[in-house]
């Protein structure tokens, strides 16, 4: 075994020129007196013979060599040597970064006569670190910019909501009572009533007066247009398969009838008949516009939260981290419910909070409130109406489980498939649930990722379950069209409970 060890003799006769790092001796004025092959290769000098080069000529900034020498002398006065000093050199316009280790050499009178040391080429490491630093700065800059833009956008959305509120108020008699999105049944009932009223008004109108007065009042093609719309107004539900498209279609029709009524030659037909037609067209146009405004308001409310949450997520890393504080689970849930109350009201979804356990958790309040809000927002957004007599609802439950508290959000509506849960797709950044876009729901696919990250950073985690509520088997084509009961649980370690 000992035969395989290097001998002391080998060390004593080792030629430093063979070292895999650059070794040198330099005079005070920078002249290279001697250097090994590695350094010659680094500086692109002839591999044999006298170096005939001055290190100062290789400095990217030759003036900086003076500072380097002063620093080396200062370090030497403290009885130390220069270690790991980064020098920026240039070899034929190519940047060369070296880590320098050197010792001062003195003459007989104690004056500095030169330096002996070694250099290690760290160019690629140095450049990649520099690139990393630049990227990091760029990311921080972008994060700040995105945060600012999103802030400006959320401000605009607030303005939009206020304007929409004013528009809704301007509809003096709102059949839907309030700002919330009416149910499909309510919309259908109102549309049917007003469309039928307009159809009847047209029917009566086209019988008004004699042929001569009618032809004086309107050209033939306009009478034809009016007549053609009677049937369409009565059959609109059968004609228009997409529920969401019905109000728009009726608005276009009502508007065109309104325009025709405005073009009636004054005095040609009884004023009451003309007014009845105008009023009926105006009522239908007004109703369909109100439906659109209410829908838009709900969409803006949803987008408002999504943007705020996105901004919080993006700027989380550049914000000063708040200290964790002990909070009761109840106070956290109160904050979350209050934060989403307007959105729930606008979506006409009730939030039902069941027994809240008496427990405390040590958390970053802002982060945990955001994590829980994301879950409640999703629950509201993906809820369907399950009872004709009641508004749709979402439930919040809490449970103690050893040293953990489970905070559960449950809704009845849009399915989450088994595959999406088992493969963890729902937690993937930017992933939007396979069935989440039904009825045009918008989103960013960040909420669940963000919530889980926050929960895990607090030593907790998240669980998702989603089960079909009806009897269709997985192979049935209606499987994913049936409502699913989805429960999303965020759990945290508790600090105490009574």
């Amino acid at each position: 075994m000992t035969d395989n060890l290097p001998s002391l003799d080998q060390f004593e006769h080792f030629d430093f020129r063979e070292l895999p790092i650059g070794v040198y001796m330099i005079s005070l004025d920078g002249q290279l007196i001697v250097c090994n092959r590695t350094l010659r290769k680094m500086l692109e000098l002839p591999l044999e013979g006298p170096p005939n080069a001055n290190i100062e000529d290789y400095y990217a900034d030759p003036a900086s060599r003076k500072m380097v020498i002063e620093q080396a002398i200062k370090v030497a006065e403290q009885g130390k040597h220069v270690e790991r000093m980064i020098l920026h050199l240039k070899v034929r316009d190519r940047d060369l970064y070296v880590e320098d280790y050197c010792k001062i050499m003195q003459n007989g009178q104690g004056h500095v006569s030169g330096f002996v040391g070694c250099m290690v080429d760290i160019t690629s490491d140095f450049e990649s670190k520099q690139h990393e630093r630049e990227l990091q700065e760029r990311v921080e800059e972008l994060t700040f910019d995105i945060g600012r833009i999103l802030h400006a956008n959320t401000t605009t959305l607030v303005m939009v909501i206020q304007s929409l509120n004013s528009v809704i108020q301007a509809f003096i008699s709102n059949p839907f009572d309030g700002y919330g999105l009416p149910s499909i049944e309510e919309i259908e009932s109102e549309l049917t009533e007003q469309a039928s009223r307009l159809a009847s008004a047209i029917e009566r109108f086209i019988k008004t007066g004699d042929d001569e007065r009618r032809s004086k009042a309107l050209p033939g093609h306009k009478w034809e247009m009016l007549t053609n719309q009677i049937e369409a107004l009565r059959d609109f539900k059968e004609r228009i398969p997409v529920l969401e498209s019905q109000p728009v279609a009726l608005r276009v029709s009502a508007h065109s009838i309104g325009q025709i009524s405005q073009s009636i030659v004054p005095g040609s037909l009884p004023r009451e008949s003309v007014r009845e037609l105008q009023q009926a067209a105006w009522h239908l146009e007004r109703l369909t516009t109100l439906i659109d405004v209410l829908k838009t308001r709900t969409a803006v409310m949803q987008m408002d939260y999504t943007l705020q949450s996105l901004r919080e997520y993006i700027t989380a890393d550049v914000r000063e981290t708040a200290k964790r504080a002990t909070m009761t689970v109840e106070s956290l849930i109160e904050q979350v419910v209050s934060r989403l109350a307007s959105y729930a009201q606008s979506s006409r979804v009730d939030i039902k909070t069941y027994h809240i356990v008496d427990a405390k958790v040590m958390v970053n309040e802002r982060e945990i409130v955001r994590a829980l809000s994301n879950l409640l927002h999703n629950a509201i957004k993906y809820t369907w109406r399950r009872d004709q007599t009641k508004a749709p609802w979402v439930s919040i439950h809490t449970k103690l489980d050893n040293q953990k508290v489970n905070i559960e959000f449950e809704n009845w509506g849009v399915p989450v498939s088994k595959e999406e849960i088992e493969e963890g797709l729902v937690f993937k950044l930017g992933y939007r649930g396979k069935w989440s876009t039904d009825r045009g729901r918008l989103g960013t696919g960040i909420g669940l990722t963000d919530s889980r990250r926050i929960a895990e950073a607090h030593g907790g985690g998240m669980l998702i379950e989603s089960h079909p509520t009806r009897i269709y088997k997985e192979s049935h084509e209606g499987y994913f069209k049936q409502p699913f009961l989805t429960k999303v649980t965020l759990y945290l370690q508790i600090t105490s409970n009574s």
Binding site: N228, A232, F236, R239, I240, P241, V242, E244, S245, Q246, P247, V248, A249, L250, R251, V252, S253, T437, R439, G440
Partner: protein, 163 residues
């Protein structure tokens, strides 16, 4: 017989559903909509249409040929403009797809309705001979699609209306 119209648009059911209401309401057209290229090809093979309205950013559907093209165009930085490849195939200027385009398709029955600016795609439209283009932007009227159909039919019948 009512003119047959096919709208190839992945946002037709949701974001742009307000545009279809007036078409169904007035009932002047036999109107159908599909959301991806594979389904569009199947429809076009099954029957002929008088008007085709095509989006440029279209998903491929299940056919591996379109899926691969979709992935490639995305990687090469040209975005998800599969509609352009589809139009080239439809007008017989791309012979790579194993299925032949329907013979009844001509440029004058096609309208492009897209978020792409005209400057970005007018070269393609000129090459293919497609004359009707409509930019999808905020503030579209509820009757945009209806007017687009009417414009294509007017051009086909030789009495082009002003846009």
């Amino acid at each position: 017989m009512k003119p047959r119209v096919l709208w190839i648009e992945d946002s037709a059911r949701f974001e742009l559903n307000n545009l279809t209401g007036p078409i169904y309401f007035y009932g002047n057209y036999d109107f159908q909509q599909v959301e991806d290229v594979t389904t569009a090809v199947n429809f076009l093979k099954a029957k002929s249409f008088d008007v085709l309205i095509v989006d440029i950013r279209l998903p491929p559907g299940t056919d591996p040929y379109w899926k691969e093209l979709y992935q490639n165009v995305t990687i090469d930085g040209s975005g998800e403009k599969l509609g352009i490849k589809f139009l080239y195939w439809l007008l017989s200027q791309d012979g790579n797809y194993q299925q032949n385009p329907p013979e009844w398709v001509t440029p004058d029955l096609i309208g492009v309705f897209t978020v792409e600016n005209y400057q970005e795609i007018h070269g393609t439209l000129d090459t293919l001979g497609i004359k009707v283009y409509k930019h999808k932007s905020a503030g579209l009227s509820d009757t945009t699609l209806l007017e687009l159909i009417e414009e294509i039919l007017a051009i086909k019948s030789g009495s082009r209306k002003k846009h």
